[in-house]
Amino acid sequence: MRRLPSKWPRPVWHPPWKNYRVISGHLGWVRSIAFDPGNEWFCTGSADRTIKIWDVGSGQLKLTLTGHIEQVRGLAVSPKFPYMFSAGDDKQVKCWDLEYNKVIRSYHGHLSGVYCLALHPTLDVLLTGGRDSVCRVWDMRTKAQVHALSGHENTVCSVITQATDPQVVTGSHDTTIKLWDLAAGKSMSTLTFHKKSVRALARHPFERSFTSASADNIKKFKLPKGEFLHNMLAQQRAIVNCLAINEENVLVSGGDDGSIWFWDWRSGHNFQQTQTIVQPGSLDSEAGIYAMSYDITGTRLVTCEADKTIKMWKEDEKATPETHPVNFKPPKEIRRF
């Protein structure tokens, strides 16, 4: 039997991340985030039914958009068109024209709240998943629903897209991950590796793999077949709501209890565990991360939290491998769950 521990790759050293800015302006939980492809601004959707647009460099509020009547759960900005897409608990999926700051299209068809939204990188197609356990594929221009990817038995809470097959990967509250063939509108594979609902999915920027996060584990899978690679080496014993991956192979997971864990992607080693500090005036139990995203460069992380703030993180410049050594022990026994 091969001894896995000796062969396990040592993790690369990453500097620790620290919070350098707190933006408070929302009146409810901040539930979703999307970055402008030009890295000038980012938008956040909140439980106070508004979408606010903030400047990346200064953190100032640029614009507030109203129109949803329930929490805004999903946001995406198109790289090709000046459009922003938003989805909410009110079953509405809206397309905003950023030149006029108005809603120009609405995609009607969801039977219940929409929890996640993703844009296809090459096609002009929008994918949304929600409580009706179906992921709907919409043609951007004509507002027609192309496919309803059904097969999940519970809410679809996360969706990622890519240009090659499987073009859509969805994670659901029924603990499965499904890989879909978008042209046919049928599922290609079902991964039942998780024990709890898969609330977050993240695709690696240039590798052919993705991670999925649930309350028990964060797992890595290989595309296109969806083979299970390995678990992350530690268990963040919290409901993980969001994942984000960097070009420097830093994976970050945000939990419902406010814990943010930073991982080295390749080895699965957790090099930093932090806890958000709630803004003054909030209860301690209001610590929770609902969404996070790296900016386009990958040097800044923005987290959207339950204490109605947006926190921005960056790597600590003064840290060195000597001050923050890598405390890595190869896993002796890889527990297989």
Partner: protein, 602 residues
């Protein structure tokens, strides 16, 4: 039957002339199913029946095939399952639900064939243990080439186009294809070509016209919703079963049933401790802020200070007022004295005394000084002052004394009331304004009784109404204020009482003194009949009845008389209770409550 027909047929056939046409061009009936039953066909020669070994020589013979049985059936002495002519064999069920056990390339049984059947055959299903095992992180191949992306994109886009087009055009029915009543012609070449069909023609032309559809016809078919076909077949679960919940965890997550304070739809009877349990009353200890105590202390101190200030102020004011009063009194006294002196004697002496008198401050010593002066004056001016003047002076002094006593009394009462402000009964209502007294209800207003103006009555009586003048004010019979003060309740004899009605003062005095009211009509029983005052000590007699306390002798002697005097012995003074409806003869009122009647003992 065929033989019969053959018999008849051959004779007939021989009689008929030979056919002109060749039979080979005729239709071949042999394959026709209709004819196959009726016309005898030349069957292939009967199969050669295999010779079965005779009885006794069948050792080692096992019939497996149909021909092994020969002409007969199964061999009972051969203990092998035998199916002659395939009889008795169980039907081979071609059940689609049963998968045959298959073996994969390396010879191991493929147990996951169940999972990979039907729809899952085209999908990737993970069912092996190896799929679960973590793999070493290797360099995963980098992202896809552009060609692949492009190809995928195109393929997907094409697929989408169709779907979107269909949906969009369905949504906008601009081009509804109308019925065209033009005929279309189809050339058809049938496979069966002979002179019998189609009158020998090789092809047919068919004219197709669309059946005219009645535009007002309602739809012919009802579109029923078909329930969705079930999802993809289940996929093996690639994780361990959930860990059993520890007792502590289970208890942590225990949610007690909801006992609402408002609703109880099923009408459950819930004990009180459970009703209050959800309230959380016992869990929170009420925290009182310290500032409450501080506030109350501060208020207390402030109140004390205010009181002291007020008291001091009032004291000072009172002193001032008394000083004023005394000053004024003094002035008045001096004036009066001056007036008297002027009346009595020369003014020169008065001027002297008048000069001396105001120098005194305090009232009492002044009074004494003045009195001394007065007496001195008296002695000096004995001759001048007449008896009347003396009397008047004495009267005045008496009045003065009275007033002084009054003032002292007032001061005492005030002092007693002091700082508490609690006035005693006497002082309480003395200084009240009349409107206040009316508001407090001390006014003796008759409650709702109709009060008539007394002037309405006795208008025509004239002299008979009494000797009252027109302006006698007799509307009210009692005073307005029901004062309970000693002043009003004490009797003060007025000098000018009606002497005509009650007689003069002397007469009344006579009446009071010489009244017979307190003289008994009869003397005490057992006492001597002497009505006058005693002149010698009281005489007692010995009690006669001590020997016989119950008076039995008397009872015996008096029983014949039938006197009921002695029946009363031992009964007097009791209060006997009688209860029950039997006792009660009359039914009073509506209540059936058993009333207890108390009867005095006879």
């Amino acid at each position: 039957m065929s033989k019969l027909s053959m018999g008849a047929g051959t004779q007939l056939l021989s009689a008929l002339p030979a056919p002109k046409q060749d039979t080979s061009s005729l239709y071949d009936f042999s394959n026709d199913p209709w004819f196959r039953d009726r016309v005898e066909q030349s069957k292939p020669p009967a199969p050669k029946i295999k010779q079965v070994p005779p009885y006794g020589k069948r050792a080692g013979f096992i019939p497996r095939r149909v021909e092994d049985f020969g002409d007969g059936g199964a061999f009972p002495e051969i203990h092998v399952a035998q199916y002659p002519l395939h009889m008795g064999r169980k039907e081979e069920k071609n059940d689609a639900k049963i998968l045959p056990v298959s073996v994969d390339a390396s010879g191991k049984i493929a147990f996951d064939a169940i999972v990979k059947q039907s729809e899952n055959a085209s999908k990737t299903v993970y069912s092996q243990h190896l799929d679960l095992v973590p793999k070493l992180p290797q360099d995963v191949d980098m992202k896809d080439e552009d060609e692949e992306i492009q190809e995928t994109t195109d393929r997907t886009k094409a697929a989408f186009e169709k779907i979107v087009h269909a949906r969009v055009s369905a949504a906008q029915p601009k081009n509804v294809p109308t019925q065209s009543l033009d005929a279309s012609y189809i050339k058809y070449t049938p496979s069966q070509q002979s002179a019998a069909f189609n009158s020998g023609a090789k092809e047919r032309v068919i004219r197709m016209v669309e059946m005219p559809k009645d535009p007002l016809e309602p739809p012919k078919f009802k579109h029923k919703r078909v329930p969705r076909a079930s999802g993809s077949p289940p996929v093996p679960v690639m994780h361990s079963p959930p860990r059993p919940v520890t007792v502590k965890d289970q208890q942590d997550w225990k949610i007690p049933p909801c006992i609402s304070n408002w609703k109880n739809p099923k009408g459950y009877t819930i004990p009180l401790d459970k009703r209050l349990a959800a309230d959380g009353r016992g869990l929170q200890s009420v925290q009182i802020n310290d500032n409450f105590a501080k506030l109350s202390e501060a208020l207390y101190v402030a109140e004390q200070k205010a009181r002291e200030a007020v008291e001091m102020r009032s004291k000072i004011q009172k002193e001032l007022i008394t000083k004023e009063k005394e000053k004024r009194e003094e002035e008045l006294r001096l004036l009066a004295q001056k007036a008297r002196q002027e009346r009595a004697g020369g003014g020169a002496m008065n001027a002297e005394r008048a000069a001396v008198a105001p120098s005194a401050d305090v009232h009492m010593p002044t009074a004494r000084k003045v009195e001394e002066f007065d007496r001195g004056v008296d002695r000096e001016e004995k001759v001048r002052e007449t008896k009347e003047e003396k009397e008047m002076r004495l009267k005045r002094e008496a009045i003065r004394e009275e007033r002084r006593r009054e003032r002292e009394r007032e001061k005492r009462l005030e002092a007693k009331e002091g700082h508490t402000g609690k006035k005693s009964k006497i002082t309480r209502d003395r200084d009240r304004d009349i409107s206040e007294k009316v508001a407090l209800g001390m006014a003796n207003v008759g409650t709702g009784e109709v009060m008539y103006d007394q002037r309405l009555f006795n208008q025509d009586q004239g002299i008979q109404s009494g000797f009252a003048t027109d302006d006698t004010y007799n509307i009210y019979d009692k005073g307005l204020f029901t004062t309970h003060s000693a002043m009003s309740s004490l009797y003060r004899p007025r000098k000018d009482a009606d002497t005509e009605v009650y007689g003069g003062a002397d007469e009344q005095l006579e009446k009071v003194l010489k009244t017979d009211r307190f003289r008994a009509d009869k003397g005490f029983a057992g006492a001597t009949e002497r009505a006058g005052p005693r002149d010698r000590p009281v005489e007692f007699e010995k009690d006669q009845d001590e020997a016989d306390p119950f008076g039995l002798d008397q009872f015996l002697t008096e029983v014949k008389k039938g006197k009921k005097a002695l029946d009363k012995i031992g009964t007097g003074g009791t209060l006997r209770a009688s209860a029950g409806s039997a006792m009660k003869e009359s039914y009073e009122g509506g209540s059936n409550r058993s009333r207890v009647e108390f009867q005095r003992g006879r």
